[in-house]
Subunit: 282 residues, 4 copies
Amino acid sequence: MIIDITALQQRFISIRENKTFETFVIAIIIVSALVIGAKTYTINPQVELLFKVLDIAVTLIFLAEIIIRMIADNSLKRFFSKGWNIFDFIIVTASLIPVDESEMALLGRLLRIFRVLRLVSVIPELRVLLNAFVKAIPRMGYVSLLMFIFFYIYAAMGSTFFSNINAGLWGNISISMLTLFRVATFEDWTDVMYETMEVYPFSWIFYLTFIFIVAFVFLNMMIGIVLEVLQREHEQFDRESGEGEAGEVHWIKEHTESMEQRMERMENMLIDLHKNKQSNTE
Amino acid sequence: MIIDITALQQRFISIRENKTFETFVIAIIIVSALVIGAKTYTINPQVELLFKVLDIAVTLIFLAEIIIRMIADNSLKRFFSKGWNIFDFIIVTASLIPVDESEMALLGRLLRIFRVLRLVSVIPELRVLLNAFVKAIPRMGYVSLLMFIFFYIYAAMGSTFFSNINAGLWGNISISMLTLFRVATFEDWTDVMYETMEVYPFSWIFYLTFIFIVAFVFLNMMIGIVLEVLQREHEQFDRESGEGEAGEVHWIKEHTESMEQRMERMENMLIDLHKNKQSNTE
Amino acid sequence: MIIDITALQQRFISIRENKTFETFVIAIIIVSALVIGAKTYTINPQVELLFKVLDIAVTLIFLAEIIIRMIADNSLKRFFSKGWNIFDFIIVTASLIPVDESEMALLGRLLRIFRVLRLVSVIPELRVLLNAFVKAIPRMGYVSLLMFIFFYIYAAMGSTFFSNINAGLWGNISISMLTLFRVATFEDWTDVMYETMEVYPFSWIFYLTFIFIVAFVFLNMMIGIVLEVLQREHEQFDRESGEGEAGEVHWIKEHTESMEQRMERMENMLIDLHKNKQSNTE
Amino acid sequence: MIIDITALQQRFISIRENKTFETFVIAIIIVSALVIGAKTYTINPQVELLFKVLDIAVTLIFLAEIIIRMIADNSLKRFFSKGWNIFDFIIVTASLIPVDESEMALLGRLLRIFRVLRLVSVIPELRVLLNAFVKAIPRMGYVSLLMFIFFYIYAAMGSTFFSNINAGLWGNISISMLTLFRVATFEDWTDVMYETMEVYPFSWIFYLTFIFIVAFVFLNMMIGIVLEVLQREHEQFDRESGEGEAGEVHWIKEHTESMEQRMERMENMLIDLHKNKQSNTE
C-alpha cells in the first residue's frame, strides 16, 4: 500500500513536470478567461448553458490539477510553503462554493475573474516580473507614508477652508483626499482651483505647492526603484558573464591575486639570495 | 552576354552607392510626401491633374530604383534577406495596383501614405534608430502581457459591476478595456469614477488600485528599456574609444597582462639564479 | 541642588531615549491627526466637546515632551541648533495661543493641522527622506530661475497679445503665468489655444514652443536630481560594503599599494645584489 | 591719441570686470522686466509716462553697457565671435527703433519682452544651463525627425479618413498634426476618438498605436539626453576630483605605470645579474 502511494506520487510528479500538462493548464486558464470575457456580452440562453458547463469543467480541472500538485509535493506543509500555491489553493477552493444564491453571486463572479491571475502563477517569466514588483514594495513604504502625510495635511487644510465653497469636493477629509488625488493627476484641476480662487484669490498657492511637492515625492519614488533595479541587475550581470567594465575589473582582481602570490615567491627567493650573498661576502 | 550583365550590375552598384542618387531618391520621397500632404487640402482640378502625373512619376522612379538595387545585389535571395528591402518592395509593388476602383481606392491611398516611411529606410541614421526600437520590442513582451492581464481582470470586474450604470463605458469587456486605457491616460477619469461612485461609493478603490498598478508596471517597462539602452551604448563606447573610466580599466587590464609576462620572465631568471647559487654553495 | 538638576536631566535623557516614550509620542501625534480629520465631518456637540478636551490634552502632552527634550539637552543653544527642534518648538508654542477669537481662529486651526508634520520629525526614516529633499533644493535653484524666466517671457507675450481675447486667462502677467502653468500640465490647454487661434491663426507656435521648452527644462531638472541621488547613494555604498564593481576596484587599489611596497623592498635588495656583484667582478 | 584709447579700453575692461557693474546691469534688467510685467496691468496715464521714461533710460543704459563691452574687447571681430554678444547686440539695437508707428509697435513690444532673456546672458550659471540645452539639440535632431515622420503619416491617414467627420480637427494635414499633438498630450483625446469611432468602429487602433509609438519615441529621446548628460558630468567629475570609483581607477592606472617602470628597472638588473652569473659559471 505504501509503495502504491509512492508510485502514484512519482507519477504525479512526472505529470507536474510534463510540458504538455503545463501547456494544457495554460490553455484551460485562457479558456476560463475567454468565458469570463464572453459573459460580459449579451448572450443567448443556449450559449449561456454552454458557458455554465465550461465553468464547471474548468473548476473540476483546476481541482484535479491542484490535487495532483499537492500529492506530488511530499507534504502539505511543503505545498503551502510557496506563496503561489496558497494563491492557487484559495482561487480553486473558493470557486467550489455554489454561486446561485444572490448573496454570494457577486463574490463568486469576482473569484472567477481572479482565476485569470493564475496565468501569472503558471508562466515562470510573469512570476519573476511580479516577484520583482513585490520586492520593491517595502522600499516604497516610507515614501508612500510621507506622501500620505502630505495628502492628509493638504486635505485637512482643503476641507477646513473650502468645504463651504463646494461640499462635493471638500466636504470632509476623505472626499478632499480624493479631490487632491485628482489634482495630482492634473484631471480638470483648474476647474477645482478657479472655484476656490473666487473666494480665496490666493488659493492658487495651495494647489501649486501641492503639485510641486507631490511631483517631487513621486519622482524620488521612481528614482528609488530605478536605483534598486539598476544595482540588482548590474550585480547579477557581474556574476554571470565576465563582459563589460565590471568583467574587466573582476579579471584584473583575479590576476592581481596571482601576481601577488608570484611576487611573494620572488621576494622569498631574493631574500634567500641576499642572505646568501651577505654570508658569502662576510 | 554574361559580361554584359556583369557590366550592367557593376554600373548599377556604382549608381546605388552614388551620393547624388541617394539624395535624388530622398528628394523624390519628400516630393511624394508633400503631394500626399497637399492632397488633404481642397485643390482645383488642374493641380489635381498635376498631382496624378507626379504620383505616376514617383511610382515609376521608385520602381526603377528598386530594380536597380535588385540587379545590383547578386541574387534575389540576397536582396530579400534584408528586412528593409522587403519593406521597400511591398510599398513599391503595391503602389502599382490601380486605385481607381472604389473598392481598392482606400487601400491604395493608405499605401501611398506609407511611402513616407521609405524615408526611414533610406536615411541610415533613422534606420539605426528604428532598429533600436525593434530590438527593444521582445524585452517588453512579457511586461506587455502582464499589463494586458491586469487590464483584462479590471475590465472584467468593470463590466460585471458597472455595465448597468453606463453601458457606453462598461457595456462589454472590450469597451471596458478602452475605458480603462482612458483612465490610465488620466483623461476625464474622474467623470467615469464619480458616475460609478453614486451606485458603489467604494468604487474609488477600483480606480486608485488600477492607476497605481498601471503606473507601476509602466514605470518598470520604461526602466527596462533605459537599462538595456544604457548597457548597450556603454559597451559600444567601451570598445570604440578608450576614454573615461571604462577606457582606463581596459588600459589597466592590458598593462596587467604585460606586467604578468614580465614577472614570469623575472621569476624564471630568479629561479635560475637561485638554483645556481644553491649548486654553488653546495 | 546642582546634583538634583543633573539627576533630573539624566532621568529626562533616559525618558527621551526610551522606545516606549517614542511610541507614545507617535501615538499622540496620530490621535491628534485623527481628531483633525474627524473635525472635517459634521459632528454632534458632545463629540465636539470630547475633541476640545483631546485637543487640550494633546497640546499639554506636546508641551511636556518638548520641555523634557529641552532639559535633556544640556543647553538651549544645543537644543535649538537642530532644525527639527526649532520646527517642533514653533508648532507646540503656537498651539498654546487661544484660538477662540474669530481673528486668530483660522491661523490656530492651520497650526493644529501642521502638527501632523511632527510625525516626520519623530520617525527617523521620514526625517532622512525629507532631509534628502531639502538637500536637493539648492541644486534646483538655477533651473527653477531659468524656468521662471521662460514663464515670465511667455506670460508677458501672452498678456500683450491675448488680453483682449480673454481677460480671464491673459488679463495681466500673473493671470497669464497661472494660465501657462495650466498649459504646462496639459489641463484643457487646447481650449486656451483654439480661442486665441481664432484671432491669431499662428498662435499655436506660441503654445508648442512653450510646451517643448518647459518639458525640456523640467526633464533636465529631473535628471539633475537623479544624478545627484545616484552619485551620493553610490559613494555611500562604496564606503560601507565592499561589494560589487566599486568594491573590487577598492580591493585592487589596496592590493596595488601593498604590491608597490613589496616591489620597493625587492628593488632595494636587487640594487644591493647588483652593487655587490659589480664590486665582486671588479 | 593711441595711448588715450588704450587707457580708455583698460578702464572699460576694469568696468566690465567690476562686480558692482555686473550687479547694476542685472538690476537694470530686472527693472526692465518689472516694467514689462507692470504694463500688462491697467495703469493710469501718469504711471504710463513714468514707464516710458524708464523704458528710454533702460535702452540708453543697455546701449552704454554694450558700447563699453565692445571697446573693452580689442576688436569687433572678437566681440561678435561670442554668441551671447550677438544676442545682446540684436536685442539692444533693435530696441532703438522707435515703436510709435502702429506697424512696428507689436515687434517693438516683443523685442522689449525678449530683453528679459538678457538675464540669462548676464548670470553665468544660467548661461551654463542654457549652453547644456543648446548642446543637446543636435542629438535630438534625428529623433525629432523620426517623430515628425510618424506624425506626418498619422496626420495624412487622419485627414484622409476623418476629414468628412470633423473638418475642424482633420480638415487638412496641418490641422490633423495639431490634433495629433493634442492626442499625444492626452488632452480630451477620447472626445476625438469617440467621434471617429461612430463612423469607423475600429479607429481606436489608430489612436492606440499612435499613443504607443509617440510615448516610445519620446521616452527614447529622454533617455538619449539622460545618457549624454550622465556621461559628460561623469567624465568632468573624473578629471576634477579623484573621488569615488572613477578616482580610484585613475589612481590605480597611475600607480600601474610607476610599477611598470620599476619592474623594467628590476628586470634589467636581473638580466645583468643573470648574464654575470652565466659568464661566471662558464
